[in-house]
């Protein structure tokens, strides 16, 4: 069973997002890190870049493949987590602690799911 914390929101494309101190924090879900397998490379945008809800903002490479990561929100990148660039295994180890980007000036969001609805998405794909 995959962990999907109640306090987070999710996308159908397996990203999580939460609002924290006026910023929207984005990361990969447990299901995503498990399906990808051992992540060996993370490519992040730069601070100040614009991201759009539903569009690619990052790609991650695992032993299996390279996969796109989609932004749950539209806005401007305020912070990026350099730690996961240096050590991509952090995403596999603690995907809800190892956030990817924090977004400010958020103007809109993708269709976000709560934990329960997201669990159903996972169940369908698993």
């Amino acid at each position: 069973m995959f962990k999907n914390p109640e306090e987070l929101k999710y996308t159908k494309t397996h990203e999580w997002v939460k609002e924290e101190d006026g910023l929207w924090v984005v990361g990969l879900t447990d299901y995503a890190q498990d399906a990808l397998g051992d992540i060996v490379f993370v490519n992040l945008p730069e601070v100040g870049d614009e991201v759009k809800a539903g569009e690619v903002f990052s790609d991650v490479e695992s032993v299996k493949a390279v996969s796109d990561v989609y932004s749950p929100v539209s806005g401007v990148v305020a912070e990026v987590n350099e730690a996961i660039v240096d050590d991509p295994s952090l995403v596999n180890g603690d995907c809800y602690g190892a956030w990817m980007i924090k977004v400010k000036d958020v103007s809109g969001t993708d269709d976000l799911l709560d934990a329960k609805a997201y669990e159903e998405v996972c169940a369908q794909e698993a």
Binding site: D38, V40, E61, V63, A65, V66, S67, P88, S89, A126
Partner: protein, 478 residues
């Protein structure tokens, strides 16, 4: 196993060379190297044993079945090696007078003509060293074409999601932006998505046909028309030419330029890092932008010319010439009928193998395939926990090289098979039996496959560690 550097013993070696009788010369101080050269010092026998040992730990097409999809690991006839070993081809220097290498020039000239006939192009040149280099060069042709017309808005290259990973990479290297378009439910290009993607910013489309699912896109004429009408050019990735050579030509499908992988389709052993050859071909209107050093036939003999608006040089001299010698030999030994027969048998073998494996495995796109096909082990994995990787590892115990795994990306738990025309029915039947047995094993004893292979010198190297902490050079103590 030890590295050469670790086997080295100071002073050891083979004194086969006679003492120099010309006196020695020490260059000026400023030209001398500061650090030691660290060449391994070994006896010939130890070097020989080292490489023999390495060879025993590998699997080549001369060892057994090698169905690595999209790589066309077919057998390379000995005669091709033989001609490429002729001293007239090997004992030459790139700068010697052209009058003394007219035979070599003729090889390039005749190869160009034959490969243009096979691809439907008007010109071809052989400088690019391998496939991705050929892609890059072809994209520079497209770029040069738009720039010469002062059409600077065209910055996008459209790439379907089933493309080879090198396609988007080459496009970015050549200064373009990549626009991905999805496949339709038949595995081909989604025409509506393509129509929506093209516009004034479209520089071109990169396509492999048949694509990486082993499927020939029946809409190909419509696809190239849509791109042309938007003002873009069409680029053909020749990776899968083995499926169509002698039957249909990229030039007739509407493509403006192509690259070939001579090492795949035209008989050079590959997969070990080279040398390859990725010649670029184009229609007449692009010819003037081709890279430097193209062979022309003049009254006085063969000469090198630089195209009028050439993009310049993309590699030193004339490319990997001996690979071209092998390709020419291959084409001439097979002849027009043989080339056609080879692609026909490659497609027949793939379909035969696919239909036999369907007895138990799930085919990703269940339709007549070309030279390769893709299985999805998603269902098996859900049911048993046995993954595409586990089945591939399991096949190693039976002397089979694994198929391509986890590619194309649009198929989950993908295994991609390309048996090539090399294999007989008996070899394919034997391989099919092994794969069907592995399927049963997955149901009865998944643990056994999780830890496969059980009888190979190397089982499961730590791929994660290799990717996260690559060691790319040897560190000497001094």
């Amino acid at each position: 196993m030890k590295l050469l550097f670790e086997e080295s013993k100071k002073g050891r070696g083979n004194a086969f060379l006679p003492a120099a009788d010309t006196g020695s010369y020490v260059p000026d101080e400023k030209y001398l190297r500061k650090s030691a050269l660290h060449l391994p010092e070994m006896a010939e026998v130890d070097i020989d044993r080292h490489y023999t040992q390495l060879a025993k730990q590998t699997h080549g097409v001369n060892d057994g079945f090698y169905p690595l999809g999209s790589c066309t690991m077919k057998y390379n006839p000995r005669i091709d090696e033989e001609t490429a070993s002729l001293p007239g081809f090997t004992q030459i220097h790139p700068l010697q007078p052209l009058s003394s290498v007219q035979g070599c020039m003729e090889v390039l000239y005749r190869s160009e003509k034959l490969l243009c006939e096979i691809t439907g192009m008007d010109a071809m040149m052989f400088a690019p060293a391998a496939g991705a280099h050929g892609e890059y060069t072809g994209l520079l042709l497209i770029r040069k074409y738009h720039q010469e017309r002062k059409d600077f808005e065209r910055v996008n290259i459209i790439v379907p999601d089933s493309a080879h990973g090198t396609n988007p990479a080459s496009a970015v290297m050549a200064g373009f932006k990549v626009v991905n378009i999805p496949s339709n439910d038949k595995g081909g290009v989604d025409l509506d998505a393509l129509r929506n993607a093209v516009g004034k910013d479209t520089a071109g489309l990169m396509l492999t046909n048949p694509n990486t699912l082993g499927l020939f896109d029946p809409n190909i004429l419509e696809i190239t028309k849509i791109v042309h009408e938007a003002g873009g050019l069409c680029y053909y990735d020749g990776a899968n030419l083995n499926a169509i050579m002698g039957r249909v030509r990229p030039g007739d499908m509407g493509f403006d330029c192509v690259h070939l992988n001579l090492h795949k389709t035209f008989a050079t052993p590959h997969g070990g890092g080279g040398p390859g050859s990725g010649p670029v071909g184009c229609k007449a209107f692009l010819q003037r932008y081709l890279p430097c050093h193209k062979v022309e036939k003049k009254e006085e003999g063969y000469v090198f010319t630089d195209p009028e608006m050439s993009m310049g040089q993309v590699r030193s001299y004339y490319g990997n010439f001996l690979v071209v010698v092998k390709a020419l030999t291959y084409i001439l030994t097979l002849g027009k009928e043989g080339i056609r027969e080879a692609s026909g048998k490659a497609v027949l073998n793939a379909n035969y193998m696919m239909h036999r494996l369907k007895e138990k495995y799930e085919v990703a796109y269940d339709q007549t395939c070309m030279h390769e096909f893709v299985l999805s082990l998603e269902g098996l994995k859900k049911q048993t926990g046995v993954s595409a990787m586990d089945i591939a590892k399991g096949s190693l115990d039976f002397g089979i090289h694994p198929p391509t795994m986890y590619f194309p990306l649009i198929v989950h738990e993908a295994l991609m098979f390309e048996p090539t025309e090399t294999e007989s029915k008996e070899v394919i039947d034997e391989a099919v039996k092994i794969y069907l047995d592995l399927y049963d094993k997955a149901l009865s004893d998944p643990e056994y496959l999780h830890s496969a292979p059980h009888h190979c010198p190397i089982g499961r190297p730590d791929e994660t560690k290799a990717a996260r902490e690559p060691v790319l050079k040897y560190e000497f103590n001094d």
